[in-house]
Every structure is written in structure tokens, then in C-alpha cells.
């Protein structure tokens, strides 16, 4: 067992029971905050697969989230099916969508991929706003289930699933193939990685996890509309959390999501009117001082101390 494996397992062994026990010791407000935080962490982890490991910065993950939410919404509100069916429907929609758009879009590199997925997100939002079965612009109202504890544990389970998936990725042949694609796609292809298949599978995996989070979230808030379900700023948040924590690491995105959620929650309650400003400033400062995220900071800070920040600036400035 390597040191990294041990670290992941120890974190899980300590963190998981603590997190799971939270609804029984904390106030309802904290539990509701916890649900949001866990969903965000799941989304950051889902983005980590395509953005962090494969190096394709997707702005289409909010589409997967929205499709997951609409799967549950349509199944429950329009056809009175149980939640699980809706979750499956959303999963199916998202994975098929990832497969269908992955083929043309994953050929694009860098900024072009990011903007193509951004464009797709806009197209899907606009289409859903015009589809009658999805409630058009008005949205869908889902049956109410007042059990925050259930939603909390469900979200925790999802985050665990996502993290274990990424943990498996980090050790598997498939995951190494994705890292190879991120580092140098031509070289990866030369070494025998089927880059097209690997990228599409990574996209589908990312879509699956993200859509599940969308489904749970839809049932939890009991109302979905196109603007909320396909919100692009949600996609930006996933990216920021993953990048802040450390993209391409197992625990980084989770740590980034937990830390930034707590930070923005505390700020929103203490200094309501400047919380928005602070969020923007954190992004700017973090990109300048620690462009490789918390994971890299923790690793290198011990060796270089405060010089770590200066080194980052020196190596990236003009």
C-alpha cells in the first residue's frame, strides 16, 4: 500500500463516520448547508474526471446536472413514477448526451473545447425552455419529501461514490491513460492509448456522477426550471472548487468544495453585502498564488515555505 493510498483510506475512515453522524448532532440549518456542500463536492469531483484528469475543461457539466434534475422532474411530476426511476432516466439522458456530443466536441482542444461546451449548455437550456414535457419556462414542481436527513445521507453516499470512482481512476490503467492524454495527447496515442474512446468514456463517467447529483438536488429542492437547472455559474463553481482544491487529485476537489462552501457561507452570514466581492477576489488571489491548488500547496509548502508563492508567480509571469 503506497503512502497516497493510505492517506486516502485514513481520510475516508476518519471523515466518513463524522460526516455521516452530522445530521444527528447538528442543527437543521447546518444539515441543509451540508446537503448543498456535499452536492457541490460531488459536482467538483465529477468535473475532476474530465477536467482534472483528462485535461478537458468542460463547461457542459451543468448540462449533465440539468438533465439529471429533469430526469427526476419529468418522471416524478409528469408520470408519477418513483424517485429511483427518475434518477435512472436522468442518468440515461446525461450519459447518452455525453456520448452523442463527446464524439464531435472532444476533438477540440483547449479554449475551443471549453467554448463549444459552453455553447452547448446555452443551446440545451434554450431547447428545454421550449419543450412542453419539461414545463417550458415555468418549470416543474416535484412532490415534497420533508426528510433532510435522508437527502443528507444520499448526498454523502453520492460523494463517496464519486470519490471512490476517482480513487479507482487514479490507480487504474484507464486513469493513467487519461493522465497521459492530459499531459500529451499525441504521445498518448503513440503509446497505444485509444484517445477517442478514453476521452468519451471519461466524459460519460463525469456525466453519470453529475446527473445523479442533479437528480438528488431536484428532489431535494422540489422545483426545477431551465434557468436554475442548467445554470452555467454552477459549472463555473464546480471548476473553481476543483481547481482551488487541486485538479487531478483524489481528495483535492472535495477539500476545495468543503473549504470554499464553508468560507462563502460564513461570509454570507457575517458580511452579507461583500460576500460576492470576496468570492471573486479569492479566485484571483488563488490563481496568482497557488495555481495548482491546495493539494500542491500542502505538498510543497513544507519544503519551500513562503517562497512557494513567489516561485509560482515567478514561473508564470511574463
Amino acid at each position: 500500500m503506497t503512502r497516497r493510498t493510505r492517506r486516502v483510506l485514513v481520510t475516508l475512515a476518519i471523515g466518513l463516520p463524522l460526516l455521516a453522524a452530522l445530521p444527528w448532532i447538528a442543527s437543521p440549518v447546518v444539515v441543509q448547508f451540508g446537503i448543498n456542500m456535499l452536492i457541490m463536492a460531488t459536482l467538483a469531483q465529477g468535473w475532476n474526471i474530465i477536467g482534472g484528469y483528462t485535461g478537458y475543461s468542460s463547461f457542459g457539466n451543468s448540462v449533465f446536472f440539468g438533465l439529471g434534475a429533469y430526469g427526476v422532474g419529468i418522471a416524478m411530476a409528469q408520470f408519477e413514477q418513483p424517485f429511483w426511476i427518475g434518477l435512472g432516466l436522468g442518468l440515461l439522458l446525461a450519459v447518452i448526451f455525453a456520448l452523442a456530443i463527446g464524439l464531435p466536441v472532444l476533438r477540440l482542444k483547449g479554449h475551443y473545447f471549453a467554448i463549444a461546451t459552453l455553447g452547448l449548455a446555452e443551446v440545451v437550456t434554450a431547447i428545454v425552455s421550449n419543450v412542453p414535457i419539461a414545463g417550458q419556462n415555468v418549470g416543474l414542481v416535484l412532490p415534497l419529501l420533508k426528510s433532510d436527513v435522508l437527502f443528507y445521507e444520499l448526498s454523502l453516499g453520492l460523494l463517496l461514490l464519486a470519490t471512490l470512482t476517482v480513487f479507482w481512476l487514479s490507480r487504474s490503467r484507464f486513469g493513467l491513460g487519461l493522465i497521459a492524454i492530459r499531459e500529451n495527447e499525441e504521445a498518448a496515442a503513440v503509446m497505444g492509448v485509444n484517445t477517442t474512446r478514453y476521452k468519451i468514456l471519461a466524459f460519460m463517467l463525469s456525466a453519470a456522477l453529475t446527473s445523479l447529483a442533479g437528480g438528488v438536488y431536484a428532489y431535494y429542492i422540489t422545483f426545477i426550471d431551465p434557468a436554475g437547472a442548467f445554470d452555467i455559474s454552477l459549472n463555473v463553481k464546480m471548476i473553481i472548487m476543483a481547481v482551488f482544491g487541486g485538479p487531478g487529485t483524489v481528495l483535492g476537489p472535495v477539500a476545495g468544495a468543503l473549504l470554499l462552501s464553508v468560507l462563502s457561507e460564513v461570509l454570507a452570514s457575517k458580511v452579507t453585502n461583500i460576500a460576492g466581492l470576496f468570492f471573486g477576489l479569492v479566485i484571483i488571489v488563488a490563481v496568482v498564488l497557488m495555481p495548482r491548488g491546495l493539494a500542491d500547496l500542502l505538498q510543497k509548502f513544507r519544503r519551500s515555505g513562503w517562497r512557494y508563492f513567489a516561485q509560482n508567480i515567478r514561473s508564470h509571469r511574463l
Binding site: 477540440l108 475551443y112 459552453l118 455553447g119 421550449n130 484571483i284 490563481v287 496568482v288 509571469r317 511574463l318
Partner: protein
């Protein structure tokens, strides 16, 4: 006749669109920064023009040079003080940092200017010409002329002036440009400043034809992307083609399919162009 009027409106709108995207395309093409805060700079330009008009009682079209100058200085400072620090890092980081900038600028605008809708309404707003049965709104026509003129002006500047040549030199080969004595930090800042100055003028013109508030930036950034992608990044004339194309596509979609489908059309075009020819309709083949 209705079709002709719709086409004309689309073209006039398209000229303004071209100017909106010009700065984004310039910064993207030269600095390889996809500036997510571009729309926020357009918004600031609109407010600068608005305040010069409402408080200093300046004609909005005379206020444009001042708005451009203010936005140039702001853009220069942002590139010099912040973006130059991360520009050699992973490409994704510049995307994130400009998003952070957008959040900060939008917040400050809302804090200082309030979230109220504003309009720039000079006395001649709403006056029209009639040409052969077609109605030409006067302000839209002036905005169109300025937008096209500035785009052509920038093209000439890049081709023939000394700073323009330096900008093209650093975009073609940074190292070689440095060997020839070009100071890239300054040229990068000038380029970004030019981009935000163009955004500032576009914002001022946008304010004369449409309502403004601190949150208009995001949607305008998205539109600018579409235009820059359609036109390609190789030369400023591309954005004219992209802008007119988008203006026409939006107007025709609104007429024949329905106003709620304009976003499907414009972003659908974006995705299709990216998939079929990522260097833009006019761009070099990859």
C-alpha cells in the same frame, strides 16, 4: 417589405455586435487569453458613457472617446498588474482569473451604480429616416457606422502603425519579438487596453440602443464568443462578418421560428462552426 426591414435591423445590430467582439478577438488572438470579463468591461463602458451623458450633459457620441480612454487605462492596469502575473501558467488559469475579475467588476458596479436599469436617451433618440419605405433608426445607424469604422481603424492600426506591428510580432513569435527589442509586458498591456477600450465604446453604443444594468456583461461575453468564433481570430475583419452574420441570424430566427429560439440559433451556430471549422468561417485551415 417586412423581411427587408428585419434584414436591415439585423445588419444594423450586427455592426454593433462586431464591435463588441472586436476586443475579445484581439485579446484572444494576440495574448491567448479568453477574457470572460470582456462583457463586464462593455458594461463599464456603458456606465461611463451614461454618467458623462446624465451628469456632465455630454452628447453620448461625444462621450465615447472619454469612455474609451478610461477603459484603456483600466485595461492596461489590469493586464500589467494582474494578468501578466499568470499569463505563462496553464491556459485554464487565465480563464478562471478573468472569471474572478468579472465577479469583482460586476459586484463593484452593482455596489456603486445600483442595480437599476438605465438608458442613455439623447433628444434625437427615436428619430428615423425613411429610405424607400424602410425605416432606419438614426441612433442605430450612427452606432453601426462607428462600429464598422472603429473595426476598420483597428485593422489599419495593426497593419501599419509601429505599436500595431509590435502587437502582431508578439502574437506571432514572442521570443523573436523580444530579440528585436520589443518589451512584451508593455505590448501585452497595450493590447489588452485596446481590447477594453473597444469594449468601452461598444458599451457606450449599446447603452444608446438598449437598457443597461450591472448584469448585462455575461450575456454580452457569450455573444462576443459566438461572433469571434464565427469570424475567426486571424484578422479584425472577421468580427465584422461574424457580427453581421449573428445579427442577421438572430433577426431571422425571431421572425420565422420565434423570439425564444434566438439563443438556440446563435449558440447552435457556435457549436456547429467549432465542430466543422474551429478556426472560424474565414480563418485559415487548421
Amino acid at each position: 417589405m417586412l423581411l427587408a426591414q428585419v434584414l436591415l435591423n439585423g445588419l444594423l445590430l450586427g455592426g454593433l455586435y462586431a464591435l463588441m467582439a472586436l476586443g475579445l478577438a484581439l485579446v484572444w488572438g494576440v495574448l491567448n487569453i479568453v477574457n470572460l470579463s470582456h462583457g463586464a468591461f462593455i458594461m463599464l463602458g456603458a456606465y461611463a458613457t451614461y454618467f458623462l451623458f446624465a451628469k456632465a450633459h455630454l452628447d453620448p457620441f461625444l462621450a465615447l472617446p472619454f469612455a474609451a480612454l478610461a477603459l484603456f487605462m483600466l485595461g492596461y492596469a489590469v493586464q500589467r498588474g494582474i494578468l501578466n502575473l499568470v499569463i505563462r501558467g496553464p491556459m485554464f488559469n487565465t480563464l478562471l482569473i478573468t472569471f474572478g475579475l468579472e465577479v469583482v467588476i460586476t459586484f463593484l458596479a452593482q455596489f456603486f451604480f445600483s442595480a437599476d436599469f438605465r438608458t442613455i436617451n439623447p433628444g434625437y433618440a427615436g428619430t428615423n429616416f425613411d429610405v424607400g419605405g424602410l425605416t432606419i433608426p438614426r441612433i442605430q445607424l450612427m452606432a453601426f457606422a462607428i462600429a464598422i469604422g472603429l473595426t476598420l481603424g483597428l485593422w489599419a492600426f495593426l497593419l501599419h502603425s509601429r505599436p500595431g506591428r509590435s502587437i502582431r510580432a508578439v502574437s506571432q513569435n514572442l521570443l523573436a519579438a523580444q530579440l528585436y527589442g520589443i518589451e512584451p509586458r508593455r505590448i501585452y498591456a497595450i493590447t489588452f487596453g485596446l481590447g477594453t477600450a473597444m469594449a468601452g465604446v461598444a458599451g457606450g453604443l449599446y447603452g444608446t440602443v438598449s437598457q443597461i444594468n450591472p448584469y448585462i456583461g455575461t450575456a454580452l461575453t457569450a455573444k462576443s464568443f459566438v461572433i469571434a468564433i464565427i469570424g475567426g481570430l486571424d484578422n479584425p475583419l472577421g468580427v465584422i462578418v461574424g457580427g453581421l452574420f449573428l445579427g442577421l441570424a438572430e433577426s431571422l430566427t425571431a421572425l420565422y421560428i420565434g423570439p425564444t429560439y434566438t439563443d438556440v440559433a446563435s449558440f447552435g451556430i457556435l457549436v456547429l462552426v467549432l465542430i466543422v471549422k474551429p478556426t472560424g468561417l474565414l480563418g485559415r485551415t487548421a
